[in-house]
């Protein structure tokens, strides 16, 4: 699957066509309804405190949403973490890649079966190719059996310059999207070499088709797709 994805990425990166997503100003926030988040609705009212892992940018709104309901939230921004310069290494062909072992030694360090919910947001679309599968494998192991993971994937209609957003939960099934503006420290990452970050945001690395998504989550027990109107598929998987 990796080679198929890599070939697709080459085509994708080389293309200049495709529908351009609307590019809002950095401070602008767009509201969108999330069917996947709505599916998780019943969980939030649980009397038992849940462990939730938010893999997007630190969001005061998300932290407030979960802590107000008595849940524990863990925040870890993996996209920013992937821009650490010391992660860059070369594969056997001399290509610049990110060292997934080193990355996983420094990130996602949690006990097995620890989380009830993982909010992955759009991470797989923007994460460097060398990290996608190792990260998904680690996420499987830190989820409890029956735990759920929510991820968003662009459809093929999304262009390579589709902006990367951070997601704030404002209601049980409503998100506010805010374009990511990298901190200055993050811009010092390996941007030129691996094209993870561009200008003031992250670059879309690939577009998964449904089969790729199913392969990516093949170790999970079930997978459910929700097609949204904004060139995004929401995917809810259960371990």
């Amino acid at each position: 699957m990796a080679s198929v994805t890599q070939n697709f990425m080459k085509l994708f990166r080389g293309s200049s066509g495709g529908a351009q997503a609307e590019t809002p100003q950095p401070a602008q926030k767009l509201a969108r309804r999330s069917s996947g988040l709505g599916e998780l609705l019943r969980l939030w009212d649980s009397e038992t405190p849940l462990c939730v892992l938010d893999l997007g940018s630190t969001s005061p709104a998300n932290i407030r949403f979960f802590t107000e309901r008595g849940h524990k939230i863990y925040s870890e921004d993996l996209l920013v973490a992937s821009t650490e310069p010391h992660l860059v290494t070369k594969d056997e062909l001399g290509n610049l890649v990110l060292d997934s072992r080193k990355f996983l030694a420094e990130n996602l360090q949690y006990p097995a079966a620890h989380f009830d919910v993982v909010l992955c947001w759009n991470l797989p679309d923007y994460l460097d190719e060398s990290l996608v599968r190792p990260v998904m494998g680690r996420l499987w192991s830190v989820l409890k059996p029956g735990g759920m993971l929510l991820a968003f994937f662009h459809t093929k209609d999304a262009g390579p310059d589709s902006p990367c957003y951070r997601f704030h939960i404002v209601e049980k099934d409503v998100l506010e999207m805010q374009r990511i503006v990298l901190r200055r420290e993050a811009r010092r990452g390996p941007t030129g070499a691996i094209h993870t970050a561009i200008g003031d945001g992250f670059r879309l690395q690939r577009v998964f088709n449904n089969r790729h998504i199913e392969t990516l989550f093949r170790d999970f027990a079930s997978i459910k797709f929700f097609l949204a109107r904004d060139n995004v598929r929401e995917v809810l998987v259960v371990r």
Binding site: E47, T58, I63, F66, G70, Y74, E76, D77, A81, R183
Partner: protein, 119 residues
């Protein structure tokens, strides 16, 4: 940004480096480097914009404007200002996080958990 002046506020300036256990019974403003542990059980710790703290922290309140690496137990409140970079787990009763703050770790609001337990 200068540190707030107060008779009951101890200050660690930005050129100061401390390694070890730090405890006290007054508010503390850290704009330098501290490595080890900080215990101010009934007082406020402020990590200034130049502050770099690698320590477990136990305090009544915590305000972070700089960098903090370590677990935090704050009996009252935690404030992460927009320039804060925090790596570690936070256990407190109240937390406020400004837009732009960075957190890698857990947030555990203890008061809510107590309520859920029927206390």
């Amino acid at each position: 940004m200068s540190a707030p002046l107060s008779a009951d506020l101890a200050q660690i300036g930005k050129s100061v480096v401390i390694k070890g256990e730090l405890s006290g019974s007054e508010d503390l403003y850290v704009d330098g480097q501290v490595e080890g542990s900080i215990a101010l059980k009934n007082h406020l710790l402020t990590v200034g914009p130049n502050g770099q703290v690698k320590a477990s922290v136990e305090a009544k309140g915590l305000v972070v404007q700089g960098k903090l690496e370590g677990n935090v137990l704050a009996s009252d409140r935690v404030e992460l200002r927009k320039s804060a970079v925090v790596t570690g787990d936070i256990a407190t009763q109240r937390i406020s996080i400004e837009e732009g703050a960075y957190l890698k770790g857990k947030v555990d609001i203890q008061g809510k958990a107590d309520k859920a337990a029927g206390k």
